[in-house]
């Protein structure tokens, strides 16, 4: 019965279907673009946070303190406020503060400190003895990072990527408030503001499936690279 209801709804609402497909695509674009740029900046930042620590490989307490404060500021601003506060920056980068491309800016900036801390945590799990062994065999710092720290922390880093992408799915819903589009936006506008329970349900189901998918791919990859 409910299956039939879904089919009927499906046939009767081609415009809404279109909207859902488009917004799913927008969500995917927002999450993965901001995720990707976030990793490009966030992973090196996490590595730097780890290395500059006291007794770290490239100990630099001053740099570590500064980075730490910056990252903490980024992490302490609620995303919805960051979204609005960054409007001038977004306008400067994208040329507009409305739309999916515009939403990617605050999403990326929100993701970077998040990723940096997660990567730092993953690197912390690498036993200090491994770095020491690499030093003893005459590895340069850059070799230690590329051949020891990152490969050994890879399961943790993939886990961090998974967590970040899932979090970004959630953040992207808020991006709707600045006209970013995406599934969350549809859920709020159609489901909440127009009291259309069916649309709300459908967006929730799609989001759940998306998150499940990201999580399972992530878990699968971790399993493949984890030989500990």
């Amino acid at each position: 019965m409910s299956f039939n209801a879904v089919i009927t709804w499906w046939v009767e609402n081609p415009r809404l279907i279109d909207l859902l497909v488009n917004s799913l695509w927008e969500t995917i674009v927002m999450v993965f673009t901001s995720g990707f740029i976030g990793f490009v900046v966030g992973i090196p930042l996490g590595v730097l946070l780890h290395l500059s620590k006291k007794n770290g490989l490239l100990e630099n307490t001053a740099l570590n303190k500064v980075l730490g404060v910056v990252v903490n500021i980024g992490r302490s601003i609620p995303f919805i406020i960051l979204l609005v506060a960054l409007i001038p920056v977004t306008r400067f980068i994208v040329g507009s503060s409305i739309g999916t491309a515009a939403a990617i800016v605050p999403l990326t900036i929100g993701a970077i400190p998040f990723i940096a801390r997660l990567v730092e945590g993953a690197l912390l799990e690498v036993p200090a003895g491994l770095v020491e062994a690499a030093q003893a065999m005459g590895a340069k710092p850059i070799q230690i990072i590329n051949k020891v720290l990152l490969p050994e922390a890879l399961p943790g880093i993939i886990n961090a990527i998974t967590i970040t992408l899932v979090t970004l799915v959630g953040y992207s819903a808020m991006a709707g408030t600045v006209g970013g589009g995406g599934l969350g936006d549809v859920g709020i506008r159609y489901g909440y503001q127009r009291f259309d329970g069916t649309v709300m349900m459908i967006t929730i189901v799609i989001l759940v499936v998306l998150v499940q998918l990201i999580q399972s791919v992530g878990d699968h990859l971790v399993k493949r690279v984890d030989h500990r």
């Binding site: 036993p127 003895g129 491994l130 020491e132 062994a133 690499a134 030093q135 003893a136 065999m137 005459g138 590895a139 340069k140 070799q143 051949k147 020891v148 490969p151 050994e152 890879l154 690279v225 030989h227 500990r228």
Partner: protein, 344 residues
Amino acid sequence: MIEIKNVNKVFYQGDRAINALSDINLTIQQGSISGVIGSSGAGKSTLIRCVNLLERPTSGEVIVDGVDLTTLSEQELTLTRRKIGMIFQHFNLLSSRTVFNNIALPLELAGIAKEKIKSKVEDLLELVGLVDKRDVYPANLSGGQKQRVAIARALASDPKVLLCDEATSALDPATTISILELLQKINKELNLTILLITHEMAVVKGICEEVAIIGNGKLVENGKVGDIFAHPKTDLAREFIRSTLDLSIPVDYQTRLQAQRVENSYPLIRLEFTGASVDTPVISHVAREFNIDISILSSNMDYVGGVKFGLMLAEFIGSEVAAEKAIAYLKEQKIELEVLGYVV
């Protein structure tokens, strides 16, 4: 090959200075196997880490193969370390790499061509007896196998020196022996200088030619293993020697032990043979000469560097007078002995 000159290392714990090493002087000959022994916290780990400057000495010189490492720049030091192999108590293998790739790591770091790496690593797998484990990850190896991989990895860059930081301390006795045999083999075949630190005198006795004993950050005694075993000059050395011969009184004897001699009880005696003891068959001699029966409870005699030494627990069964005379005679023969009590 390795010269440690006036090395001091001070750690700071807040404002408190801790002298981890004070004024250590030690020379290790090319091609020898030398051991540094000390209890935990004695500073032996700090000492070996000073040899490749994983720990930088507060003062002093560390000369390896004619080069004073303390004067090198960071880059020069990195390159010099490639000629100093090191293995560790907890192996420190990369879990993300197979056995083959772990051994290949030092060669990759040096930028060696792939083909050359392959043949070199395969030779090393042969040397340490792990050809069949080539593509296995370290998580699936036993402790002994892991240490073999670590040894192969340390040898990959053809080092002149191999440092062993408690390399057998996490292994069971049988595996320890097989790893020590491997170390001995590579010492002979590759003419590699090996410096190992340990807290087990058995390891030193097993493979070392020279030994240095450190306690409280100071070098207490050093010399040929045979000499140290024969004529230990310090209490610490004696303690370590005794630790290889641990003899304890069985529990049922302990309950029967009296402090004073009573009717029908016989003295339980611990005899300690050292390098100074007279090298004659004293036990049978005493039995014959003083008409007492000697019942040996347990005994641990060993022979190192031309000297017999060891500990023995024995009951002297006979009259009180005979026992007294026998004890006096043994003391004359420079055998240290102690009456532990009287067994009823």
